[in-house]
């Protein structure tokens, strides 16, 4: 089955960074999608059901928490692995992240090597 990965962040440079960080996966045949706000992200998830989503928390038009909640609780898409990304120092959100059903929680600035490794592990590559 074709694997799909979605990158969601309202900041273009972060999307670019994540894409660049994960470009090895593209070579492995993973299909990349990207979205710049929560609504867009939710639509793509609903339509494409990606295996892995890197989801920024602080975004206009439905924040990451809400997207996560809707995907996990409303759509019950438990096969979509959601990694929440938040700026360092906002660790209090961790519990909230768990409440809305996030699978993993990572902080920005992220270590590119760690992100790539994690993505490979989740996608079983």
């Amino acid at each position: 089955m074709e694997q799909k990965l979605l990158i969601v962040d309202d900041e273009a440079h972060i999307r670019m960074l994540l894409e660049q960080t994960l470009e090895d996966l593209e070579d492995e045949g993973v299909n990349f999608f990207s979205a710049q706000n929560g609504e867009e992200a939710f639509e793509i998830i609903k339509a494409e059901k990606p295996q892995l989503v890197f989801l920024d928390v602080m975004m206009p038009k439905m924040n990451g928490m809400e997207v996560c909640r809707k995907v996990k609780k409303e759509l019950q898409l438990n096969d979509v692995f959601i990694v929440l990304l938040t700026a360092k120092g906002q660790e209090l959100d961790r519990q909230k992240g768990q409440e809305v059903g996030a699978d993993l929680y990572m902080t920005k600035p992220f270590d590119p090597e760690v992100i790539l490794e994690k993505a490979k592990e989740i996608l079983g590559l």
Binding site: H13, M16, L17, E19, Q20, T21, E23, D24, E26, D27, N31, F32, F33, S34, I44, P109, F110, D111, P112
Partner: protein, 559 residues
């Protein structure tokens, strides 16, 4: 970098698909898009290969737009999207590199913040630098201002640097380090010749470790690949060196302040130790203090204690035979032997009064008596040494009395002293004086005896009541002869009952009977000076015929 593919630009970006779809619609063209492997990526109608147009990127065919003749425009747009995507990827790659550098510096700061000590910081810095600048070998050297030399604080396992020669050929390295610069070294032949850099090294880069204008040292990296280092390596190394420098600086300052605090503490300790020699700790403790700085004027404490006095007999005639220096030396020698004994028995020396010592035993009179016995034995040992040196023997008297005593701090704001105020002290001093009359070595008052739980472990005999000069009430005095020689001890034990009878008769004013008893004692043990005192004293009373008026209390005319 991942290869560009038509598939990616069509799937990743929803806008791309939307654009192709609407374009095809407006052109009224039925097309399909195929990648190089013939896989269909997009189609808006039944496939037909009537026309086909390559999608080119940098003269390479990346796929095809097939079907309508109007597909040409779509192929061109796709080519354009590919070149845009390529630009984006290049930019992304650059951004990622920058981001990785920031991340690296971020993590490095994090590590530094958790590290203390110039050496540990140097090691982390070298580890990080040789990792990110990918060098086989490296050292961190710091200038030691005290020793005037370079210290190798950290070095990698694989070596291009000879640690031993760094200081021998210091001037060569110093030239580099003291420049305070950072650079890629092009000419390092002299360093190689001097043996600082080992053969095989092809590239050298360094950055000074400095804070403001003060140069602390340098981090130097080496590689066996020629032209290994780039401007970017230099930028990274300089950044790491900068961070490391301030961490090392704060660490050195921290270590210095710790060292200074320890020195101050040691100096304070010295002062406390010294003051304790003047005002004993037990004295302070009795006042409820731990350190002398807590003491204030008017502090006082009342306590029942045993006061012990020693006095050297015939000190005046003894000192007449010596020069003042000799006398002082002698007193010092004597006192030096007494102090440890007093402390051993939980007492402390309150005062040195010329040839006399006043000690206080706050816990129990038995301690004071044990100390008195040991002091007398020490004197016997001391006398043996004196004899060997052909120097005069000495004799001391020890007197004990137990009673309440006020210890306190007196004086004025600028001159204070520890003092004891008590009649107990006077009485103890008088008891000591009695040793001269009774020719006894240790005397103690009944008050002291009462405090001793097991008097049977001591050899004691009662000497009756004595009226001290200037005192209204008389005191009951005991002699302790435990410190006597074995022979003396034996004979005193043997004559103890007769002696006791003599004292009893004296107390009953039956002086003639007393005289007889003491005579009997002397017949058995002629070397009993106390018995001799009583014998002569009673004889005088009997001979003078005043026995009718005389009380059974020995009256002391002198102090």
């Amino acid at each position: 970098m991942a290869k560009l593919s038509l598939k990616n630009i069509l799937s990743k970006d929803i806008d791309s698909i939307n654009m192709v779809t609407s374009l095809a619609q407006q052109l009224n063209a039925t097309i399909y898009i195929e990648d190089n492997n013939g896989k269909i990526l997009f189609s808006n109608g039944p496939p037909s290969s009537a026309f086909q147009f390559p999608v080119l990127f940098e003269n390479e065919t990346m796929g095809w737009v097939k079907g309508s003749e109007k597909g040409d425009a779509i192929a061109k747009i796709l080519s354009h999207l590919l070149s845009k995507e390529s630009e984006r990827k290049n930019l992304g790659s650059e951004v990622l590199n920058l981001y990785q550098e920031i991340n690296l510096i971020f993590n490095f700061s994090d590590k530094l913040a958790q590290t203390i000590g110039a050496k540990a910081i140097s090691e982390i810095t070298l580890d990080e630098a040789s990792h990110v600048i990918n060098s086989e070998s490296g050292v961190v050297v710091l200038w030691d201002e005290d020793k005037k030399c370079l210290e190798v604080e950290a070095s990698t396992d694989s070596q291009f640097f000879e640690k031993q020669t760094i200081n021998k050929e210091l001037h060569l390295l110093l030239g580099i380090i003291l420049s305070g610069q950072s650079e890629i070294v092009s000419d390092f032949a002299s360093l190689q010749k001097a043996g600082i850099l080992l053969p095989g090294i092809q590239s050298v880069i360094y950055s000074a470790l400095k804070v403001k204008r003060r140069i602390m040292g340098a981090i130097i990296l080496g590689s066996n690949e020629p032209d290994k280092y780039t401007a970017n390596s230099l930028k990274l190394l300089t950044t790491l060196a900068l961070q490391s420098s301030s961490a090392i600086e704060s660490s050195l300052l921290y270590e210095k302040s710790i060292r200074e605090a320890e020195e101050r503490e040691a100096a304070m300790r010295k002062v406390f130790d010294a003051t304790e020699k003047f005002v004993p700790y037990q004295f302070l403790k009795s006042l409820g203090h731990e350190v002398i700085t807590d003491v204030k004027l008017g502090d006082q404490a009342e306590k029942v204690v045993t006061v012990l006095f020693t006095d050297i007999r015939d000190y005046t005639s003894l000192s007449e035979k010596m020069t003042p220096e000799e006398t002082f030396g002698f007193i010092c020698l004597f006192n030096a032997r007494m102090g440890p004994i007093v402390r051993k028995h939980q007492g402390f020396i309150n005062q040195y009064l010329g040839d006399s010592i006043m000690a206080i035993f706050p816990v129990n009179a038995a301690h004071a008596l044990e100390a008195a016995i040991e002091i007398q034995r020490e004197i016997q040992a001391f006398n043996k040494l004196q004899e060997q040196k052909n120097k005069p023997r000495i004799q001391i008297g020890v007197g004990l009395h137990t009673g309440s005593l006020i210890m306190g701090i007196t004086g004025d704001r600028d001159r204070m002293d520890a003092c004891t105020i008590s009649d107990t002290v006077n009485t103890a001093s008088r008891v000591e004086s009695l040793t001269k009359h009774y020719k006894a070595s240790i005397l103690l008052s009944e008050e002291s005896l009462k405090q001793i739980e097991h008097p049977e472990v001591f050899h004691l005999r009662n000497l009756g009541l004595v009226q001290l000069k200037g005192k209204l009430s008389s005191i009951n005095v005991y002699e302790c002869f435990s410190s006597n020689t074995d022979e003396e001890l034996q004979q005193k034990i043997e004559t103890l009952s007769i002696f006791n009878e003599g004292v009893a008769c004296y107390l009953n004013q039956s002086f003639e009977n007393a005289n007889h008893a003491f005579k009997k004692v002397l017949q058995i043990n002629e070397n009993d000076p106390t018995a001799r005192f009583f014998y002569l004293h009673t004889k005088q009373i009997v001979d003078s015929g005043v026995d009718e008026k005389k009380s059974g209390v020995v009256e002391m005319e002198e102090k």
